[in-house]
């Protein structure tokens, strides 16, 4: 019985991860930098008591943030030293953290293209491009990507009328078509 209970608690067990200590250090440095800025970035009003100062609440949050960040750093380093499982700079893991940067750029590229090309054309371009980049080469998958893109535009822009402006490219189209595209696509 005890065996099974430990099984269930296994789901909650926290394992050491590579890069834990370096992340904790980075957060600690960031929190210290924010604490140093508190004088510049918040106001102290003369004649008001401490509790009503605009500076009071951010200071409280930053104090908590810094203390917990420091405790997290110390516990991460202690755990790492104890286990000796990962180095302080696990380069492979740090490289992994940078991997999604490429997709973040895709995302930002998509954001910049929508006001230029319009929501439908950009989505029909970006989703299959991302699918290709992800390693799928079969026409069926690319077609599915285009279909998902079309459905996304139909559901959100045509049906739910979410606020996404028409692209500048639409201005070049004939009147009737342009109005339809601006309103629904």
């Amino acid at each position: 019985m005890a065996q099974k209970q430990s099984d269930a608690s296994g789901v909650l067990a926290v394992e050491e991860q590579p890069g834990e200590a370096i992340f904790a250090l980075a957060v600690c440095v960031a929190s210290a930098a924010l604490v140093l800025q508190i004088d510049d970035q918040t106001k102290w009003l003369e004649g008001s008591s401490l509790l009503v100062q605009p500076r009071f609440w951010p200071s409280l949050c930053l104090a908590g943030f810094s203390i917990f960040a420091l405790c997290h750093l110390l516990s991460s380093v202690a755990r790492q030293v104890r286990s000796g499982k990962y180095g302080f700079f696990p380069w492979a893991e740090l490289a992994n953290w940078a991997q999604p940067m490429e997709y973040a750029l895709y995302f930002m590229g998509y954001v910049f293209l929508v006001p230029q090309l319009g929501y439908l054309p950009t989505t029909l371009l970006v989703l299959p491009a991302l699918t290709l980049r992800s390693g799928y080469r079969k026409g069926r998958v690319l077609l599915a990507a285009a279909a998902v893109g079309l459905c996304t535009v139909l559901v959100f822009k045509s049906f739910l009328q979410v606020r996404i402006p028409g692209g500048h490219f639409y201005e070049l189209l004939p009147d009737g078509l342009r109005n339809v595209l601006i309103l629904y696509f």
Binding site: Q41, C71, P100, L130
Partner: protein, 497 residues
């Protein structure tokens, strides 16, 4: 009666029925796809619901929330991969039953237990409502401040083994909420002379980054799963009869789900860890737990599904969200100028009754959908991960860009997406950031409102409610410390553990 009839009339509207259907079916599909989960879906859909009436938007989001937990049981049972994090314990007995050739029985039991938990919590919500309506107006600023503080403390100590990290992230969330122009003295806080920071960090932008975009990154960078799911044979209706045999387990587990759902900060993940050992202790065959015990399956599924309705109680009564998903729903209320809290029960009782009815109907709808379409749903489990990641990335754009058509919002969202990705790699929790942002805002507001009546710090807890909540905070902290000391002593005695 008049209120009930008015609620029924609202419910009979086409847009509400459509929202119910979309929520129920969409939620089941989202839950069945490992790697998506309700948080991603709700974060993406949130801005789209702002143009809907509050009852329509909330019905859809609540439908997704509740239904995804039903759907999450399917991959947990069939391929040993929980569809949503809350289905983690379902894999223990559910997948063991599949290996024994009882996949149909396991699914049927999971659906029935989920249904029981869902309906049980809606009934609790309805029964408790008159009492909540009486008690909620008694909550003053100091009481709500203490309740929010309890939420903050519980969200930290609920992350056993990650207490420091959770504390760090909750305070980070609270700090994020302070950025921008403060609303009392109109002074700038941490804006670094950037005009775009004057309005602070939008909760939805942060949510979309941390939950949706980061998940897109995780899927795009990762590898596809290779799974083969065989069609499920057997009658899916038989689970109800079997559930009746284990009614005590189902009732106790649902009770845990309701109680822990009500407590702010605990979240939907933990109840199963209380109900599962209890079911094991009550069982005549405890040795079967983890090897295909129907009671184990019922314990985890009914506890999970009892949470969504119960989690609405602190949100509706006090305006305090208990976990990330209700924190997201809070913004739907705010956008429509409905302030959840004590006054809601007096001013809009018909809105609340409609919401309860919707929750009730969602459970029935989901059960019907699952009984009829499980074999069709199996196809979505096999959607390739990276393809799914590309779709989530494109969908995240709609969520964030449609808010204010701001490219800066999208850039902020991308940054939080990268932060969320790193946190996920490190297996650190994201929920404390969101709860810190929401509860931090509530706490600051209530703290300032309380100051007029405060002469000494003890005045914060000199009201019966705030004093009681403060006592609960102290008890929770002591219990946490005792648990830590016990775990440490156990480790010292058994270094192998």
């Amino acid at each position: 009666m008049e209120i009930f009839l008015s609620a029924l009339e609202t419910l009979w509207r086409l847009d509400v029925i459509l929202a119910l259907l979309v929520g129920a079916v969409g939620g089941v599909i989202i839950g069945a796809i490992p790697g998506v989960g309700p948080a991603v879906a709700i974060a993406i859909l949130l801005p789209a619901t702002f143009s809907m009436e509050p009852i329509v938007g909330l019905t859809m989001l609540l439908g997704i929330y509740g239904a995804s937990m039903y759907g999450g049981a399917i991959p947990a049972i069939l391929i040993n991969t929980p569809g949503t994090p809350v289905n983690a314990l379902t894999t223990y007995d559910g997948h063991a039953m599949t290996r024994q050739g009882q996949a149909g029985r396991a699914l049927s039991l999971a659906y029935s237990a989920s249904f029981f938990g869902g309906i049980f919590s809606v009934i609790c919500l309805v029964i408790l409502s008159p009492y909540i309506a009486k008690v909620a107006p008694l909550f003053g600023s100091r009481d709500i401040l203490m309740a929010a503080l309890l939420g903050v403390i519980l969200v930290v100590i609920a992350h056993r083994g990650q207490t420091f990290a959770a504390g760090m992230l909750v305070f980070f969330g609270m700090f994020l909420d302070t950025v921008g122009m403060e609303s009392v003295r109109y002074t700038k806080r941490f804006t670094f002379d950037q005009s775009w920071l004057l309005s602070g960090f939008d909760l939805i932008v942060v949510l979309l980054g941390l939950f949706a975009l980061s998940q897109a990154f995780v899927l795009l960078v990762g590898r596809d799963r290779k799974t083969q799911v065989a069609p499920v044979a057997g009658k899916l209706f038989s689970g109800m009869a079997e559930l009746f045999r284990y009614k005590r387990v189902a009732a106790c587990s649902s009770g845990f789900g309701v109680i822990m759902g009500i407590i702010p900060g605990v979240g939907e993940f933990l109840p199963q860890f209380f109900s599962y050992p209890l079911a094991q202790n009550l069982s005549k065959e405890p040795q079967r737990f983890g090897h295909g015990s129907p009671e184990g399956l019922i314990a985890s599924e009914s506890a999970n599904n009892a949470v969504p309705a119960a989690a609405m109680i602190p949100l509706l009564a006090l305006g305090i969200p208990g976990e990330a998903l209700t924190a997201m729903m809070l913004s739907v209320f705010y956008v429509h100028s409905i302030i959840p809290g004590p006054a809601l029960f007096q001013t809009q009782p018909d809105f609340l009754v409609t919401l309860y009815l919707c929750l009730f109907l969602v459970n029935i709808l989901v059960l019907v959908v699952l009984m009829m379409t499980t074999n069709t749903l199996l196809k979505v489990i096999n959607v390739p991960g990276r393809f799914l990641g590309a779709c989530i990335l494109v969908l995240s754009f709609v969520g964030v860009y449609s808010l204010r058509n701001s490219i800066i919002d999208c850039a902020v969202c991308a940054v939080f997406g990268l932060i969320g990705y790193i946190l996920k790699r490190l297996k650190l929790p994201l929920v404390p950031i969101i709860l810190g942002m929401v509860l931090g805002g509530i706490m600051e507001q209530r703290f300032r409102a309380s100051l007029a009546r405060i002469e000494t710090p003890l005045d914060f807890i000199n009201r019966p409610i705030s004093g009681t909540i403060f006592a609960i905070i102290i008890i929770a902290l002591i219990a946490h410390c005792v648990a830590l000391i016990r775990a440490r002593n156990k480790r010292l005695l058994n270094p192998g553990i």
